[in-house]
């Protein structure tokens, strides 16, 4: 076990910067999820940590040791690949034993270790089979077994659940978390699935275009996104964004958009007055679907017309047209609302966000 530190890590492929000055510290025994859309550089970070790619600049430290120039075979990290990468010509036993045999362990030690690991992952009865005779879930377990059998310092997982069907994914997710609790190995887990990230990570690191956007506990990242990208990437449906302007009116700060003005109380919204001063001009208001309420047309809120309803059983999603935006509102399934209703959307300013220049959240926590 070991902590992993990335300092200003950068990777360029020709003209393209896949990873752009990423600094991140993963504590010993932590389960960190790297989350982002495809092509955002998260898998490249795993490959850099494992040594399969060389960093263009920056440092990678594993267990207090700079490993930039250490061969992947000597970094003692294990990786579970998206397609498992099992050796097709070897039995499950041979697959799991491969890293140990490579390390020249004696035969009885190899046998003991493989059997012990197989028992943990419940694949003892599959040891004589070949990978082609296994189901997706079983292959996944074998890949995990091969990774943990040599007790690596760091465990890297590259979308390990993406090839499983929905139900199996749910089950394996729970099993992976149980496994991590049991072994306590530092784990960096890459996914593009925000539900997976929210449920599995103690901390999640959200990436976009090679840059780290935000690192934090899942709830914090969800409730207080650092950028509009994080706001819309996390959550389904995503946070609603309304374009407008931050301006001064009668000595007080306002966010103004078509047909509606929000008085900004800096203490309620957690924004420094100086930040508002710097951010005067075009801005974006962000409110999560569950923080909106529908009010009669006379109330004070964003004016809109109900466009359509999406009942999903546990909730009722109401799409409201506000100027040229379509706002998603989450309501209880039995809410009395119908298409064509004129409504006002009200919300608690303390739970709303204003994103200023560079799409960054104006809240003081991000200063």
């Amino acid at each position: 076990m070991a902590e992993v530190i990335l300092r200003q890590l950068t990777k360029q492929f020709g003209e393209i910067t896949a990873v752009d000055k990423v600094s991140l510290k993963v504590a010993d025994g932590e389960f960190l999820v790297l989350l982002g859309p495809s092509g955002c550089g998260k898998s490249t970070i795993l490959r850099l940590i494992s040594g399969l790619e060389d960093a263009t600049s920056g440092e990678i430290v594993i267990g207090g040791e700079l490993v930039n120039f250490t061969d992947p075979t000597e970094r003692n990290v294990a990786m579970v690949f998206q397609n498992y990468a099992l050796y097709p010509h070897m039995t499950v036993f041979k697959n799991v034993a491969f890293p140990l045999e490579t390390a020249k362990l004696n035969r009885s030690a190899v046998k003991d270790a493989v059997e012990r690991t197989a028992a943990i992952l419940e694949i003892s009865e599959l040891l004589d089979r070949h990978p082609e005779q296994l189901s997706g879930g079983q292959r996944q377990r074998v890949a995990l077994a091969r990774a943990i059998v040599r007790e690596p310092l760091v465990f890297l997982m590259d979308e390990p659940l993406s090839n499983l069907d929905a139900q199996l994914r749910l089950q394996t997710r729970l099993e992976l978390m149980a496994l991590h609790q049991r072994l306590g190995i530092t784990t960096i887990y890459v996914t593009h699935d925000q539900v997976e990230a929210m449920t599995m990570g103690r901390r999640i690191a959200v990436m976009q275009s090679g840059r780290l956007q935000q690192v934090g506990a899942p709830v914090d990242v969800y409730q207080t996104p650092a950028t509009t990208f994080v706001a819309t990437f996390m959550g389904a449906p995503p946070m609603n964004l309304v374009a407008g302007d931050v301006q001064v009116e009668n000595g007080g700060w306002q966010f103004a958009t078509a047909g509606y003005t929000l008085e900004i109380d800096p203490s309620v919204m957690g924004i420094e007055a100086s930040t508002l001063q710097e951010s005067a001009g075009p801005a974006t208001l962000g409110v999560r679907p569950e923080h909106f309420s529908l009010a009669p047309p006379a109330a004070d809120g964003l004016p809109g017309v109900v466009q359509f309803l999406e009942p999903v059983g546990s909730d009722l999603f109401v799409a409201v047209g506000v100027a040229d935006h379509l706002i998603q509102v989450r309501m209880p399934p039995d809410a009395a609302v119908s298409e064509g209703d004129n409504v006002r959307l009200t919300f608690d300013p303390a739970k709303s966000h204003i994103f200023g220049k560079n799409d960054r959240n104006l809240r003081a926590v991000f200063d």
């Binding site: 075979t73 990786m79 990468a85 050796y87 491969f98 890293p99 091969r146």
Partner: protein
């Protein structure tokens, strides 16, 4: 018109058109005839090609079982009326055929084994290892494919003769030695290219997984790549064996004595200056084809499988 027809017609007229049964039948007949003619054409063409391809080999069978007098009988006799094994007796008693056979087996097996090792290693290096000049070197190797064998015959001969003058290695690689026969034939650009194509189809994930499992390049080659290349090795092995078995030019030049003479050169030496016993040559040629045919038939299933596997992957 039967009741059934009347019913159909009634339905047809309901949709306001009438089926012209005669026209339909005529069209069907025309189609049958066209298809028949086409099929006949196709079979005739294929038969012609098969005749051209295997005709000479079949023609070999007849003289191999006839005495030299009846060979020139007129009108020519395709099936021998009085088959004899005299040609074979002559071959085994009066010529060095068995010796040539053993030499050819050593030569062909030697080239096959050595070339499988060298071609696979070279292909692995070109596909997986990163070293300066990799692309240029691979291109140069491929470019040698375009040089005719006859053009490099003299330089190769001189090289082998020079090596023959060196201490130690000269005892094994020289003119008129198996080393001299085998070594120049042991690396083929085509083999390197073919194995590289196969190695390329193996997913990158396997190398990466093995690398993270702590395996060196050599161990990855031995434990992961080589076992997965088995079908490709069989294909290349058969190719090389068959080509070497029937090769003529290089053995003719380098192995001049009877000790290392191979079958192709040996059979050619049966041609007399004034008289040629075609029956004996036929028998010798027929016997020479047998081992390669057996090798091919034995591995045929693998052969087809492997070529398919290579073709279907990605």
């Amino acid at each position: 018109m039967t009741a059934g027809h009347a019913e159909v017609d009634a339905i047809d007229s309901e949709f306001e058109f009438e089926l012209d049964h005669i026209a339909v039948e005529q069209a069907a007949r025309r189609r049958r005839i066209t298809a028949g003619v086409r099929r006949f054409g196709a079979y005739a063409t294929l038969t012609l090609f098969v005749a051209i391809a295997v005709g000479p080999a079949i023609y070999l069978i007849s003289p191999a079982f006839r005495d030299s007098v009846s060979l020139f009988a007129y009108p020519p006799e395709w099936v021998p009326s009085d088959p004899t094994l005299e040609n074979y007796r002559f071959l085994f008693r009066n010529t060095e055929y068995v010796r040539w056979g053993i030499n050819t087996l050593i030569y062909a097996s030697g080239v096959t084994v050595v070339s499988l090792v060298t071609n696979t290693l070279a292909a692995y290096a070109f596909d997986r290892l990163r070293f300066p000049g990799r692309r240029v070197l691979f291109f140069v190797i491929l470019a040698t494919l375009m040089i005719p064998v006859a053009a490099v015959l003299a330089p190769t001969y001189l090289t082998v003769r020079t090596i023959g003058g060196w201490p130690l290695i000269g005892n094994y690689v020289d003119l008129d030695t198996f080393g001299g026969l085998i070594l120049p034939a042991a690396v083929s650009p085509l083999g390197v290219f073919m194995m590289r194509q196969f190695i390329e189809t193996l997913p990158d994930g396997l190398y990466e997984a093995a690398k993270l499992d702590g395996a060196s390049d050599w161990r990855i080659f031995r434990k992961i790549v080589l076992p997965l290349l088995k079908p490709a090795l069989v294909v290349l092995g058969i190719f090389v064996f068959m080509i070497t078995w029937s090769s003529y030019l290089w053995p003719l030049v380098v192995a001049t004595g009877d000790d290392h003479r191979v079958l192709t050169v040996g059979i050619q030496s049966l041609n007399g200056q004034f008289v040629t016993n075609w029956g004996v040559i036929g028998a010798a040629s027929l016997l020479t084809i047998v081992p390669v045919t057996i090798v091919f038939l034995f591995f045929q299933r693998w052969f087809v499988q492997a070529s398919m596997a290579g073709a279907l992957k990605q």
